[in-house]
Amino acid sequence: MTAIDRQRLSKNQLLGLYRQMHLIREFERECERQYTRGHIKGFLHVYSGEEAIAVGAISTLEPQDYVVTHYRDHGHALARGVSSKDIMAELFGKATGCSKGRGGSMHLFDASKNFMGGYAIVGGQLPVATGLALASQYRGENRIALCFMGDGALNEGEFHEAMNLAAIWKLPVIFFCENNLYGMGAPASTTLIMHQEIYRMAAAYGIPGAEVDGNDVLAVRELMLEVVQRVRGGQGPYFIEAKTYRLRGHSIADPANYRPPEEVSYWQSRDPVPRFKEWLLAEGQASQAEIDQVGASVEQEIVAAAQFAESSPFPQPQDLHKWVYEEGQA
């Protein structure tokens, strides 16, 4: 990792990136615990192993930019600054959740952060992100949309339609593929003909594409800095493929037995969180004491989030129909 000079990050900023990555990892651990305790229901897809992507990419955005993502969305929400309390409360189905308990794990929203949602229909978020970028272009605004997707989304028609539309209208949107090599249990090698070079698919839409090590937060950041500048400058959409790996199963219900042990251990050795930590220490960018301090503060934050979620009220029965339509409309 030599990107640091070009990115001119202060020690504090570097430690901030590390804190976010560590927070996501610990948050997901807490989610798994709370799921086992029965506080979190339904589907739970954790982001463990992919933290460098959300943290690196979102750190290059401005507050006015839009973030749109898929159902594996806790990491993106946290990286965008959505409060861990609000997210945990949402997972608990509480009225204080970031989607007021109406969304759940796969549908996190936070208007105050321009966090435009987690979308649980694979590929469905791409057209929406395209429309957000269109609004920006229409009004001559200086904002871009960053749209995350899994490798599975590339098999959906909505991907192809949105890529072409964004390109033909030259919209300020970055399509960011988190290629973790699997869609549920299916290896991308069995479902996507271009699985080894997904980023090259962009060329078919006249969109520039690039690949990056998705387990290297500074590499993701460096590429994004360049891409954001370009897209903000009105040069049209961009496509990024980041190779990464889910360290856990597809969802909490999935032991992921279909993955070869060598593959898993290879990717464990590239785990982005310890990797970044070791780099910070080796480069003298952080001391062990500072790392420990981050650990302690994250632990506190997680405890507070869980307490907040647990002590928050469920939505009121009389509010079942609230927000189906604008207030006053039936």
Binding site: S99, G131, L165
Partner: protein
């Protein structure tokens, strides 16, 4: 009072939106220089420019989804889906996204998106181009479904749709574009959720919408000669649904017939029949009857196509049978 066509009414409604508020813009396939498949937007591209009359690729899902995103960002997109048959390629964006984002975000985002599309059989365009799916969309909480039958209703209802902060499916009928009718001068509006009695009668109530209103009015004409007075209630919107007007009419006539163009099984008319028997059971002198499309893909050949969808004779026959006349 002016007499204009249904096409002109929709066209005027769109033009007003574009003229009055820059947040409104149009997206659709060949709505630009070509003028729209049904010529509703003829001349718009030249007048308002390509930024506000956006000719789109053949990508129903992407343009509806782009409408969802733009609406979330505060614009007022008006998307044209060439016909309701093609809306199936956008149904994910309509049902899973447009209709649910306000709710799933706990009220943080709204989707003031208007999707205009064209429904109906009778144009000899075969099974894939002749369907009537408006009833399906009416089963989705979060959507508004508007089904005007006259130029006045089209204009007045669209003016109300423009003000809504939630998604609307505005369904025009393929055979009605040339239909002419009186439209009041001035900025009148018709609120959603208000059915209209299109013809007064004391013997039987027909509940219907869209082009079937005209079929039923023609049947009512025939029956009047025989001394049967038919009341025709035009729902005008399927969601929200005005059962009050329907029940009020049925209480008077004590007989109800529901008429729709889509196949009977699972059709929207079943919902009306169910609600009528629930809300007005004690007033009914007999079962709620239905006339609907046949259980068949719409055939191409004209004599067959005519058999597949209700016409005034079938409606009249059903009423004679219902009243034992």
């Amino acid at each position: 009072m002016a007499i204009i066509s249904y096409r002109e009414a929709v066209s005027q409604a769109l033009r007003e939106a574009l003229e009055e508020d820059h947040r409104f813009f149009l997206m659709g396939e060949d709505i630009g220089p070509y003028g729209g498949s049904f010529a509703v937007t003829r001349g718009f591209w030249e007048e308002f420019g390509p930024e506000r009359v956006k000719d789109s690729p053949l990508s129903e899902s992407a343009i509806v989804g782009a409408g969802v995103g733009a609406a979330m960002a505060g614009l007022r997109p008006m998307v044209e889906i060439m016909t309701i048959n093609f809306s199936l390629l956008a149904i994910d964006q309509i049902v899973n996204h447009a209709a649910k984002i306000r709710y799933m975000s706990g009220g943080q985002f709204s989707v003031p998106l208007c999707i205009r599309t064209v429904t109906g059989a009778g144009a000899s365009v075969g099974a894939t181009h002749s369907q009537s799916f408006e009833g399906w969309y009416a089963s989705v909480p979060g959507l508004h479904v508007v089904v005007p039958s006259t130029p006045k209703d089209a204009l007045g209802l669209f003016r109300s749709c423009r003000e809504l902060m939630d998604p609307v499916i505005f369904v025009e009928h393929i055979l009605l574009y040339g239909a002419r009718g009186e439209v009041p001068d001035g900025p009148f509006k018709i609120p959603l959720g208000q059915a209209e009695v299109k013809r007064l009668g004391r013997d039987v109530t027909i509940v219907t919408f869209s082009r079937m209103v005209h079929v039923c009015l023609a049947a009512a004409e025939q029956l009047a000669v025989e001394g049967i007075q038919v009341e025709v209630v035009d729902l005008r919107t399927l969601r929200p649904l005005d059962m009050e007007t329907v029940v009020h009419s049925v209480r008077k006539t004590r007989h109800a017939l529901v008429v729709e163009e889509a196949p009977k099984q699972g059709g929207f008319g079943a919902e009306i029949a169910s609600q009528v028997q629930h809300l007005a059971f004690d007033y009914l002198d007999g079962p709620v009857e239905r006339v609907a499309g046949e259980e068949v893909p719409i055939p191409y050949s004209m004599p067959l196509e005519r058999l597949a969808i209700p016409d005034p004779e079938r409606v009249a026959r059903a009423i004679r049978a219902q009243l034992g006349r």
